[in-house]
């Protein structure tokens, strides 16, 4: 899975969007600008669980510290993309 999405921002976003479906209780349209907390109303524990699922989907390590900079779905996609690229190169991000 990892190899297929390196350098492909659209694919990462699409896959994150799929991961978010169970949390999208009101069925709003998910875009890069969707605010994870305000628009989706995901609580602080649920977002940590979501991050675990993303780590497993891509078989990478994403420290939860990085969530401090995440507000939108686009922010989350950027971080995941960055971590995939960094860890595919075999080094620390």
């Amino acid at each position: 899975m990892t190899e297929a999405i390196i350098g492909d921002p659209t694919k990462v976003f699409e896959q994150i969007r799929e991961q978010l479906v169970p949390y999208n209780k009101n069925g709003i349209e998910l875009t890069e600008a969707t605010d994870i907390n305000a628009d989706l109303n995901i609580d602080s524990v649920a977002i940590l669980d979501l991050l675990m699922n993303i780590e497993d989907a891509y078989e990478i390590s994403i420290p939860i510290n990085l969530l401090a900079d995440v507000r939108t779905v686009g922010d989350l996609s950027d971080i995941v993309r960055r971590m995939i690229d960094a860890q595919a190169e075999g080094g620390a991000p």
Partner: protein
């Protein structure tokens, strides 16, 4: 008119959602998070709102808060050394009692070093923020206590969560950490404070050894209860050798306040110069320290409290299960009863208090997996008669709620 009313852009606006949830759940009635105990009469009895209440939710596992020897030690320390230390050990110096307590804890755990902190929360904050720094990675159980999360955040280390009590999941995530496990610390708890479930420490120890990481175990809810000598779950599981750091509290089994970290690492003492939650806070007061020394002496010299809490735990767990209540874990010091939702849990909690039984209401987001429950804690000091009253009250309320078997 209140000068804070009608402000736009108030600092407290960030709590609007919290405020709304609180209103919905509690209204104007009794607030389960701000119960006033008019008077605490013993380790298991208090007066709330003019009524006698049995305490079934205060973590007073061994009932030592009213132990005559512990109380006398505290009284003697106040008489000899006053009410407080008025500052940190770095600035004001250590009282001999602080060092005596550290020696007693190190001896109890059979470790070379022990450091005392002013609260249990600060023990996790101090050990984690002291040990870890940027470039290190800490792997934490998803259900770890807030003090562990906060200590990790304060440290600047990379924080990776693994699934609760899942050693295979830890193994996978540890394997993904860039750069290997040499600077990785695994953090788990012996007994989990909300559900009362026990960690599979032998499995974690195996993963730890396989990867060459460090491991810390928080024995806050297991000290004095698990293990032949009461050293906690690492002792009962026979894996103390694999545990590099033990953290715990004085505020549960030992009946006072404060916390500790112990280790055999030859450089553990460096934390006294590197751990801000140790350095920049007032040291524990003499009476508090003296009572903890006495409590440690008590649990080292007799197993009567340990035997009694297990007897009580088995009776309470068995009888509450027989009522048809859904208990989250096997018998132990914590009995967590799962209920349908926050509103039902709150109503159940309130009815129990009406019947003279005090428990803890636990609702999301403070609980794992969004469950709502009543969290009860067993004490060695609960008498047979009190246990009968507790069971009778639960039977009545469970019946009222249609939950009885």
């Amino acid at each position: 008119m209140n000068k804070y009313v009608n402000n736009s852009g108030d600092l407290f606006d960030k709590f609007n959602a919290l405020d709304e949830t609180r209103e919905q759940l509690l209204g104007d009635g009794v607030n389960p998070f701000h119960v006033r105990m008019d008077r605490v009469k013993s380790a298991t009895e208090a007066v709330i709102d003019g009524r006698d209440v049995i305490l079934f939710g205060t973590n007073n596992y061994l009932g030592l808060t009213f132990d005559p020897a512990c109380m006398e030690a505290a009284r003697a320390a106040v008489a000899a050394e006053g009410t407080g230390t008025t500052g940190s050990r770095i600035a004001n110096g250590s009282y001999a009692l602080h060092q005596d307590l550290e020696a007693a804890i190190a001896k109890f755990f059979q470790r070379s070093s022990a450091i005392v902190f002013s609260t249990g929360y600060q023990a996790n904050l101090g050990v984690l923020a002291g040990l870890l720094g940027p470039g290190d990675t800490v792997l934490i159980d998803a259900d770890n206590h807030a003090s562990i999360y906060d200590g990790c955040r304060l440290s600047g280390a990379d924080i990776v969560r693994f699934k609760h009590n899942d050693a295979a999941d830890l193994d996978r995530r540890l394997g993904r950490v860039p750069g290997g496990a040499a600077r990785c610390l695994i953090v788990v708890e012996g007994v989990y404070s909300m559900m009362g479930d026990v960690a599979p420490l032998a499995d974690f120890a195996e993963v730890k050894t396989k990867h060459g990481a460090y491991m810390m175990v928080d024995e806050a809810h297991s000290l004095g209860i698990y293990g032949e000598h009461g050293r906690g779950n690492a002792e009962s599981d026979g894996i103390e050798e694999a545990v590099d750091f033990v953290v715990g509290t004085f505020s549960k089994s030992l009946g006072a306040i404060g916390g500790y970290g112990v280790s055999d690492h030859p450089r553990f003492e460096l934390l006294r110069l590197a751990s801000r939650p140790y350095m920049f806070t007032a040291s524990p007061s003499p009476s508090n320290v003296a009572s903890v020394i006495e409590a440690l002496r008590t649990i080292s010299s007799t197993d009567e409290h340990r035997v009694r809490i297990w007897q009580n735990a088995h009776v309470l767990h068995g009888d509450l299960s027989a009522l048809g209540l859904d208990i989250c874990a096997p018998p132990g010091p914590i009995i967590a009863i799962r209920l349908d939702d926050a509103a039902q849990a709150f109503a159940f909690w309130k009815r129990l208090l009406d019947q003279g039984i005090y428990t803890n209401l636990a609702v999301p987001p403070g609980t794992p997996n969004g469950i709502s429950m009543l969290r009860c804690s067993v004490s060695a000091a609960h008498s047979d008669q009190q246990i009968e009253k507790i069971i009778a009250a639960f039977a009545l309320v469970a019946q009222e709620f249609g939950l009885a078997a």
